[in-house]
Amino acid sequence: MKFIVCAKLTPDSEQLSDVKPEDVRSGDLGVTMVLNPWDEFAVEEALLLQERFDGEAIVLTLGTEESAEALKRAVAMGIEEPILLSDDVFQGSDAWATAHILAQAIRKIGDYSLILAGKQSVDGNGGLVGPGIAVQLGIPFVSNVNKIVDLNEDEAVVLRNLDEGIQTVKVKLPAVLALSTEINEPRYPNFMGIRKASRMQYPAVGAGELPGLNLARLGEGAALLTWSELTKPPAAASKVEFIQGGSPAEQAAALVDRLIADKAI
């Protein structure tokens, strides 16, 4: 069985607040770029499934050549088949075009059982590409999966988190699964893995190598959404006011006074 992970290179979560609007425009964010933390759970799950079901785990990423860094993390964790999709014509694609490119790459790999994705990326946090891939391939999409209970060639049984409770879902394969952080604990790469990853080549697979691409739908020109303005949210009008002095009872009373005066209560 083939398990294909779709991964993205994103800023390190810790540095998200350091990203400036003008850097988003230029494309050079000036922060450390890493495998999207959500996608680490997908890579880990693919490795676990590969072991459990004697399958094949593949990781795809779409981006600039720098996106190979995301693949390196996956390889260091144990993935043996990384694929970098990169081409100028892909740049600036919206979510549905991104899903289309990934879907065509998935179709080319063929005979897949599960497509695994993180719930969303830490930068765009839209969670759109997973559903987009499912629609492109005409297969089901199950999100917030916190456990893959069972799996065979035809169907999977998974647990899906809803706000109201946990559903046990039997889904026909192939399917796209977006994973919750509760599903596993991504392994840390070991030294051998890191060394292997740094020595591996990550050739870019371009538009010419993906059959069936609808080129007219790709890139910035065809994108249905534009970020017409990017701004830093207004800084707090004033710095925090520390309620000083006295006992907790006095501080509490003073705070309550402020909140009532502000009409916050």
Binding site: D18, F141, V142, A236, V240
Partner: protein, 327 residues
């Protein structure tokens, strides 16, 4: 130029965010001189459809039947797509909540409509097209989104728009939609369900949230937090650290890997203020932080701070609120 609103419901009860979106749709439709339609999907949802009219819909598409009794992503997406085809709206709103956000994404992908996810504010441009604002990069940046194409869709965060007043005298048309499920739309079967409903107020719908983190040191540490929340009529939230430690269920988790909340008042006790947590609550109107460490990052987003022991301050706050609010 019409607007379509996805009314999300669970077991025949509509989620409040649905009415918030309907209220905004009514306002925008007034400026566009257009109609507001709603879509309700489920089983036994006739009453929800009636409520949708009271909250502002001129027309309600209802997909009601056993196939839709329980949430199934692709089935609900097929139903939503059918409503989009029937209504031919120029603007579409759906809630950015678990479940509905994925239904919306699938329907938008199927229709090849541009979708802005997790918006907190919307407006119209000079041509009557939707313009939306949404946080990206964990809220460090706000993006203004403009659209191309005949329709524009947005998923909307809870409490982004005010709750409108229902008007029971409003009239509207209820239109049942038959949706046959084939292929991927019929590929999910729900073979089990474990309810997590506690009867507690959901953090996303609450006007007041009292949240705690590592500082409460254990599950019992949430007792004073719950107590304060009860006096304030608020909900209890938690940081990822507290949830991962097993002190409180995941449903309370606020932050990048949990829920995003926009209450009027957010009280953070024993929460240091990791970026990932702040991503989930900086939309709060007023933030109060209580922490032993005066340099805790949470104070950088707080309006008021108390440096102290939460086990003394939180009960003192509860007492002070009781007295001032006459409880």
């Amino acid at each position: 130029m019409g607007i379509l609103v996805y009314v999300d419901q669970y077991e025949g009860v509509a989620k409040p965010v649905s009415w918030e979106m309907l209220g905004k749709a009514r306002e925008l439709a007034g400026r566009l001189d257009g109609q507001v339609a709603a879509v309700v999907i489920g089983q036994g949802v006739g009453e929800v459809a009636q409520q949708a009219i009271a909250y502002g819909a001129d027309k309600v598409f209802v997909v009601d039947g056993p196939d839709f009794a329980r949430y199934r992503n692709a089935a609900y997406a097929a139903a939503f797509k059918a409503a989009i085809d029937a209504a031919q709206p120029s603007i579409i709103f759906a809630p950015a909540v678990t479940g509905a956000r994925d239904v919306a994404a699938m329907a938008a992908a199927m229709a090849d409509i541009g979708m802005a996810a997790e918006v907190v504010s919307v407006d119209l441009d000079a041509d009557g097209n939707l313009v939306a604002e949404r946080p990206i990069f964990a809220g460090a940046i706000v993006a203004t989104v403009t659209f191309k194409g005949k329709a524009q869709m947005a998923t909307v965060r809870v409490r982004s728009f005010p709750m409108p007043e229902p008007d029971a005298s409003r009239t509207g048309k209820i239109t049942p939609l038959e949706v046959a499920l084939t292929g991927a739309a019929a590929a999910e079967e729900i073979i089990g369900f474990e309810s997590m409903e506690t009867g507690e107020l959901d953090v996303q719908n609450a006007g007041i949230v009292v949240a705690a983190g590592r500082g409460v040191k254990g599950p019992e540490g949430f007792d004073p937090i719950r107590s304060l929340a009860r006096v304030l009529g608020g909900a209890v939230g938690a940081s990822r650290a507290a949830v991962d430690a097993g002190w409180i269920p995941y449903v309370h988790q606020i932050g990048q890997t949990g829920k995003t909340v926009r209450p009027d008042l957010y009280i953070a006790a024993g929460i240091s203020g990791a970026i990932q947590h702040m991503a989930g609550m900086t939309g709060s109107k007023t933030i109060v932080a209580i922490n032993k460490d005066k340099d805790a990052p949470i104070f950088s987003v707080a309006r008021y701070g108390i440096v102290g022991d939460l086990f003394e301050v939180v009960p003192a706050l509860e007492k002070a609120f009781r007295e001032r609010l006459g409880k």
